[in-house]
Symmetry: C2
Subunit: 216 residues, 2 copies
């Protein structure tokens, strides 16, 4: 599958590595795609096989677009790319926006909903924002199964994203479809508990697992 | 221990049952303590052994006060009881406030912080707000261990609350101290993911477990 990843930070790099390893055709999109230092860094992390392009070019050829940009910069960047280039595509949204004092940039709703509202012809699926970049492609490194959540209005888009999560190593039984894109607010609001847990255990490298009632 | 529980809803009743069963001396506090229907309901649920008193009376004799009132009503009720009656006591705060349209009543901070700020001579500990009332006293009913969180500025108060959680059946290894009372916002913000998960699995009867990296 052709995947255009917007953002070249830890999340973009981890996802590029995971999906390239699974045989997908990944392009990273960045406003700084001509920056030689960035290119050298990416080549050192990912090898020479992952091309870097400007954001519009990364999107144009892609079947799935991934938003891995900082949450407060996401909508402006997507608007610059433009709704026509994004129309009809699946947009896998990983980002969460924070204000300068550490609060959510979208209290009472979510970035995922804002993106879906702004680009109604794009199928937005929120996922992977409840775990750290280093775990996104290595769920087996945890001491047991953990849960990853999906939110989106389009069932087919969620199936596509579910397949891409499988390709990163997340088994289908670890995926939990929360429902429509409004449920993205739950995933994003969890960020504050994520940060609290990370502070308490001294590591971002953890998951959470939904523990169901016993059947006995 | 003498425990005054403010609120006679599902949470107040579950905690009263759990701590009474563990041998503690529980009083339920309600503005409707003279309401014969409420008294009959409580007697049917809890037996005759748990007294019901007005909120101030429930607090005056207690070593630990529990806030199990609706989150948007908590501060007004506590203010009516008054800071002097609450001073020097541990206040175990379980509540989360929601607006009429289902958003958090304290976006960007938390009810726990507001209570601590309003009653600086009371030791507020936020806990148990990430699980449903029916599980608070029956963590063994889940298919495996799940995590319960504590937030508060006073270490001794958190130890007292930790002991009360043990008495409800939560083993010490399931308790995670997130830090100061500002970390209550993580617990409260999680409510939206809690509701999303409940909708997805069709039950409020679940926990979440922090899954750490494997040590191998």
């Amino acid at each position: 599958m052709k995947i255009g990843i917007l953002g070249t930070g830890n999340v973009g790099r981890a996802l590029a590595a995971g999906w390239t390893g699974a045989g997908h055709d990944v392009v990273l999109g960045s406003r700084r795609s001509d920056d030689t230092q960035l290119r050298a860094e990416l080549a050192a992390t990912l090898g020479e096989g992952v091309p870097v392009a400007d954001p519009l070019s990364a999107v144009v050829g892609a079947e799935v677009v991934v938003n891995a940009t900082p949450g407060t910069a996401s909508v402006p960047l997507l608007a610059e790319i433009g709704a026509p280039a994004l129309a009809g595509k699946v947009l896998l949204d990983v980002s969460v926006g924070f204000t300068e004092d550490g609060a959510l940039s979208h209290p009472g709703e979510s970035l995922g909903e804002e993106i879906q509202r702004t680009f109604p012809d794009t199928m937005v699926v929120k996922t992977l924002c409840t775990i750290d970049a280093r775990l996104m492609g290595t769920p087996d490194s945890l001491e047991g199964p953990s849960t990853v959540f999906l939110s989106g209005d389009d069932g087919e888009a969620k199936r596509t994203v579910g397949g891409l999560l499988n390709d990163l190593g997340w088994p289908t039984e670890s995926l939990l479809d929360l429902g429509g894109i409004t449920t993205a607010r739950g995933q994003e609001h969890y960020s504050l508990l994520f940060l609290g847990i990370a502070g308490a255990i001294g590591s971002y490298g953890f998951g959470i697992r939904v523990v169901a009632p016993s059947r006995g």
